[in-house]
Symmetry: C2
Subunit: 335 residues, 2 copies
Amino acid sequence: MAKRVGISDVAARAGVSPTTVSHVLSGRRHVSEVTRARVRSVMDELGWEPNQLARSLRMQRTLTIALIVPDITNPFYPSVARGLLDVVSEPGYQVLIGNTDGSPSAEKDLVARMVTRSVDAIVFAGYYSKSSDVAAAVEAGIPVALMGGRRASAGIDVLTSDDLAAGEIATRYLIGRGYHRIAFITGASGDGPPADRVKGYRRALTSAGLRFNSQLIVREEFSRAGGAAGMEKLLELHKPPRAVLCTNDMVAIGALDVARARGLRVPDDLAVMGFDDIEAAALISPSLTTIAGDPREQGRAVGRVLLGRLAETATTASLPQRILFAPSVVPRESA
Amino acid sequence: MAKRVGISDVAARAGVSPTTVSHVLSGRRHVSEVTRARVRSVMDELGWEPNQLARSLRMQRTLTIALIVPDITNPFYPSVARGLLDVVSEPGYQVLIGNTDGSPSAEKDLVARMVTRSVDAIVFAGYYSKSSDVAAAVEAGIPVALMGGRRASAGIDVLTSDDLAAGEIATRYLIGRGYHRIAFITGASGDGPPADRVKGYRRALTSAGLRFNSQLIVREEFSRAGGAAGMEKLLELHKPPRAVLCTNDMVAIGALDVARARGLRVPDDLAVMGFDDIEAAALISPSLTTIAGDPREQGRAVGRVLLGRLAETATTASLPQRILFAPSVVPRESA
DNA sequence: CTGAAAGCGCTTACAG
DNA sequence: CTGAAAGCGCTTACAG
């Protein structure tokens, strides 16, 4: 590899100053037709492209967005990444990914690293996203989009799926199909998305004039085994449910395992519904009716919000927003 | 946000030169105990961390690795990304992701962009990875790891799954379980991984003393529908196969659909095997026996190779390597 | 319409 | 043991 050519090489060869070369590139000041043509041809000839590093240092922006997630291996996040890339690539941004495994120290560390790298913006998704996780970025004046947070605050826009609506929509769907005795297999109580889904379930029951029965809420692990255990418990009830909502698709698959083992017909004897629409939901048999957000669209929305922030000036800045993504039913065989 | 503090602020406050501050940070030259302690405390006090951009420009390395893939949404790639992060994060590298959709122009474009951004290394995975795709990087002296390429060349290490071995291993597994009439549902002929899998299948048959029968190779789309279509064709044969190898798991799931519809018992009447071990393979019923590489480990291997290249000097440089990843059988219910 | 010079924030030969 | 100065490769006030 020969010595990399720089702007001054181009300038010398074209018989102009680096200033002028820079201006033909940026178009930020008029350059005479002939000069411009000459510079352009020298650029092509030498194959020169401006070094982004130097440019970034000088212009104080890197055209880089950090995407910090708990586990890039969880299919939700690649879809978000895709959506983000969909909208930010065109204006020239690249995305830097960071994986935290949900560890608070890794989260802090990664945010700090991204700050020292002068990323232009950060999208942060933690299992329990809190604004304190991104304090270092906010302090440095870097706009952040928090996925899954409870509320927006200065410098932090929040974008999250509407889990309460998800629970409501799922429940209304089952009620609409004639199921009145509906159970819910969820996890340990807390106040994350699972709790919101249960809240939506209660709300939908109430507004349909159905009684909420706490016996029909069972708490298990968020796994296939948890779903199976929950289903067993429900079937031991004096009056077992006719339909069961499961806090996520893996739990629903566990519930279906039990239904199959017991010889129950799904959805006739028992309807089963999950949340998230993982890839397997469509592939198992019976296929799983579930509630889906659109992670790629969420990624796009995040990109748009951030691009908006990056285009703002101090005087045009709008208030931090909280954007909720409405989910919808993906009807399949199980309910 | 106050004006960002720089190395000269730290130096001034500690009563030393920026040179010294830099050296206490890098440890590349001795600094007296007391000075070092003073500088350190000022660093903490002001919360100063060196601006990576400036550092990169000066040191001519960015501690950044680009990962260019066709579709980050294909679960194979997030796993590779994870493995890559596993090994490169510790020494301080970050990874920049690029999505090409397999478009040759997007591939060239992304490689070029990564070069202008002075990434330290590139891992490139195309659907049909060729070294010409990364020519710009090689010219710029940036080491590249090509995933899926046919051969290594100057500046390009190749790491790829051993599809020939995969086909052989799968076939031997079926033979070992007593299946002798084994079909293969694959795609249009070509010379990518699918063709290698078929080649391995032929080789295993031959070395087991079984006859290769071209009627038992059917070519369909790489999809669930393709798998179903292929299975139908095979069942129409005068003597249908007792076992079928499918070029990937989605195709295998299509084959299983047909088996279920026809009331065939799997694996007694018909054994079905796929390749790749997608998430759904374990979740469907009967669960799918398949062949798995270990994408995360592949990502780790890529990271190690690249880190090795980055540590090399002109004199210590070793020849480009081609590394093959051996797959293994994941035995489940379907075969 | 164009250029010389300063500066983004560091590191590192060079000198003492 | 330490510092002054040059330089990484650009962009942009400032001046003409």
